[in-house]
């Protein structure tokens, strides 16, 4: 009897582990690392680079790249959990990056440049937030407009040029942010983790997270329980804009150059993908920051895998689209019901067998 109970306990933990999205994310990450190691035996090698004062190796560059995805995925998670979407993150990245580079070139102090470009991201996010919350526009149309206008704004800021600030003196703090190391680990990855942690603390240790989720489930009902859905909506878009600006700084500072067309291009898709991988439903009402963070790292890892396997980089969007389609199909109620249906049939069959026996 006791044995049986223990077994059922074990069963339930195993089942819990199997049903958790996080487990599958970790498995997927491991699988990708294994694939890369098979193709490139030196993939897991870590060396200490005395020039930069940090570790170096393929995994480290992957972590460095993942920082920007962590940022936009975190913002996107909050927005999606209110049943919205932020398609403008890629363009906001380009705007903030362009602003920072342009300010550096025109001789503005690096800290002022960082602050101002973060502020620009916050302002763009706030505009989307105001349009969605106060005017009640649809999120995807609003952020689609911001995506369009933001890309134009980035081009206006640099007058269509790809501003290069690599030769500018005094850009060191920004460069350190993207390429530096803290205790041997990439600084931008640590900064990103700290920010994700902060957002996690604010949302999960206070009622904020639940308020955001309740707005995602039913804004009218949440208003009646005393939550202010408009404020919450405004806030999530503003945060998403700010975090996208941080991501833009990471992306441009690593090469100290902004490419007004390519910086942040397609990244809204990556952010949505990271969120979906992390188990946050696109219908809103539920979110998992840990899941999205893992999702962001998986995105960086997929990109690394594509490079390691030597697949043409032009194929990347098709590859990601295939991943999104597979994940969304897996999440579809039809597939879930299919599993339940098969189980029901099996038990029916067993019963029939028992009866005939």
């Amino acid at each position: 009897m006791a044995e049986q109970k223990q077994r059922s306990d074990e069963d339930s933990t195993v089942r819990k582990l199997l049903s958790s999205n996080l487990t599958w994310s970790v498995v997927a990450l491991m699988a990708l690392i294994v694939i890369c190691t098979i193709f490139d035996h030196g993939f897991l090698r870590l060396t200490w680079n005395t020039n930069t004062g940090g570790l170096s190796g393929p995994l480290i560059t992957m972590l460095q790249e993942s920082a920007r995805y962590l940022m936009i995925a975190t913002g996107m998670t909050l927005v999606i959990s209110t049943a919205g979407i932020d398609l403008s993150v890629g363009s906001v990245m380009a705007v903030s990056g362009a602003a920072a580079m342009q300010m550096l070139v025109s001789g503005i102090n690096v800290w002022v440049a960082i602050l101002l470009s973060l502020l620009i991201g916050l302002v763009i996010g706030s505009i989307s937030g105001a349009l969605v919350s106060i005017l009640g526009l649809q999120p995807f149309i609003t952020t689609l407009i911001m995506m369009l206008a933001g890309r134009g704004l980035a081009k206006v800021i640099t007058s269509g040029q790809n501003t290069d600030a690599s030769s500018i003196q005094g850009g060191a703090p920004l460069r350190w942010m993207a390429n530096g190391f803290i205790l041997g680990i990439p600084a931008n990855f640590i900064i990103a983790l700290v920010i994700v942690g902060l957002v996690g603390l604010i949302t999960r240790k206070t009622a904020m997270g639940m308020m955001i989720e309740s707005v995602g489930i039913n804004p009218e009902a949440s208003r009646m329980t005393g939550i202010k859905p408009k404020k919450i909506l405004f806030m999530v878009y503003a945060i998403s804009g700010l975090l996208a600006a941080v991501a833009g700084l990471f992306a441009t500072a690593s090469v100290m150059r902004v490419d007004v067309v390519k910086t942040g291009q397609d990244l809204e898709m990556y952010a949505i993908l990271a969120v979906v991988i992390g188990g946050t439903s696109l219908l809103g009402g539920k979110f998992s920051l840990t899941g999205s963070a893992l999702g962001a790292i998986i995105i960086a890892m997929i990109r690394k895998t594509i490079i390691t396997l030597g697949i043409d980089s032009a194929a990347t969007p098709a590859f990601f689209a295939a991943v999104v389609i597979v994940i969304c199909v897996m999440q579809a109620p039809k597939i879930h019901n299919l599993g339940a249906e098969m189980k029901r049939r099996r038990t029916l069959k067993e019963q029939a067998k028992a009866v005939t026996a």
């Binding site: 979407i85 689209a321 969304c328 579809a332």
Partner: protein
């Protein structure tokens, strides 16, 4: 004030009210189009010429087709973000085939088939797997763009003496002594007009059209009424993707070349046309003809901004602001309607 006067005012107010308030954005779009033409004519003197209209029609026939294509999903409250990418993949495949010596009619059929396949995929994802339309078409957009990039990233040019030229050859309708006053169209424009007629007939003269409006009003009500929602949704995304490949044929024949980056942002141009033309982004209200006006407004922005000497970077901002203004206008009109 005499009572007769007051009555007259009342009647006037009533007759003003008879115009459906939801028509206001469409009327505004027509007014804006005329104002743009007047402004262009007054400042630069080229906007009233027949030649201007010819080039407007010939150069933007593809946008008219895309606007009609986009109207269908937007009417149901959905969206098709994949149209631009479908233009890219069909253009690349079509030109690549022609370069390999495949006859043009076959290439055109293959282009249409590719569009249909993407439409079916989007429809399946939306209807069978409950994906939101914009996520489903966002993924087919990336898929189409990615496959186009895998096929080729070079700029491909149609070979000389290809059989596409019958689409782009200009037909003079009005032959003026002044060349800039010639009015000419090509088969591409005729195709676009046929597409508009098709869209109009589909939406206003068929049961499917009524079902599309019903879905836009409320999906669950449409289902409860026993309307074939699923079949109609399939048809909508199938049609919009097929029309996108048709737009690609017209555009490719005009330009004579193709690249994997062609059509970037065209889904936004199409959405802009539809929204400016007065179709509600929440679905349930709008016209194909409005979208055509929207497409004309969108196409006139380009020559106007370049004549004003506005840097090209600003165009996207202008278009973005324009969509925003119209969406806000729609929102205001809907709010007024609800109050009444």
């Amino acid at each position: 004030m005499s009572s007769a006067q007051a009555q007259a005012i009342k009647v006037k107010a009533k007759s003003f009210h008879r115009i459906d308030p939801q028509m206001i954005p469409t009327i505004a779009a027509v007014v804006i189009f005329i104002l743009m033409l007047i402004m262009g004519q007054a400042l630069f003197g080229t906007y009233a010429r027949l030649g201007f209209f010819s080039s407007l029609l010939i150069d933007h026939a593809y946008l008219v087709i895309l606007a009609v294509a986009m109207t269908l999903p937007v009417l149901t409250g959905g969206i098709d973000l994949s149209v631009g990418a479908i233009v890219a993949i069909t253009a690349v495949v079509g030109v690549k085939m022609t370069m390999a010596g495949v006859p043009a009619p076959l290439a055109i059929v293959v282009m249409l088939l590719i569009g249909m396949a993407f439409g079916l995929l989007a429809g399946t994802l939306i209807e069978e797997f409950n994906m939101q339309p914009f996520i489903a078409t966002l993924s087919t957009m990336f898929l189409a763009r990615g496959v186009a990039s895998i096929i080729s990233t070079d700029s491909l040019t149609l070979p000389q003496n290809n059989n596409f030229h019958w689409i782009s050859d200009e037909i003079k309708i009005i032959d003026n002594p002044k060349i800039s006053n010639d009015f000419s169209i090509n088969v591409g424009v005729i195709i676009a007009i046929l597409v508009v007629v098709f869209g109009y007939m589909l939406l206003h003269k068929t049961r499917t059209g009524r079902t599309i409006y019903a879905i836009g009003g409320s999906v669950s009500s449409a289902e409860l009424m026993g309307l074939p929602v699923k079949r109609t949704q399939y048809l909508i995304y199938f049609t919009s993707a097929t029309l996108a490949s048709l737009a690609s044929i017209v555009y490719t024949a005009n330009i004579g070349s193709a690249k994997n980056t062609v059509g970037v942002g065209w889904e936004l141009d199409a959405v802009a046309s539809v929204v400016i033309g007065g179709t509600l982004v929440t679905g349930g209200f709008g016209y194909v003809l409005g979208s055509v006006v929207g497409a004309m407004v969108r196409s006139t922005i380009d020559p106007l901004t370049s004549d004003f000497g506005v840097p090209a970077e600003w165009t996207t901002i202008v278009v973005g602001m324009m969509i925003l203004v119209f969406v806000v206008l729609q929102r205001a009109v809907t709010a007024i309607n609800e109050k009444e």
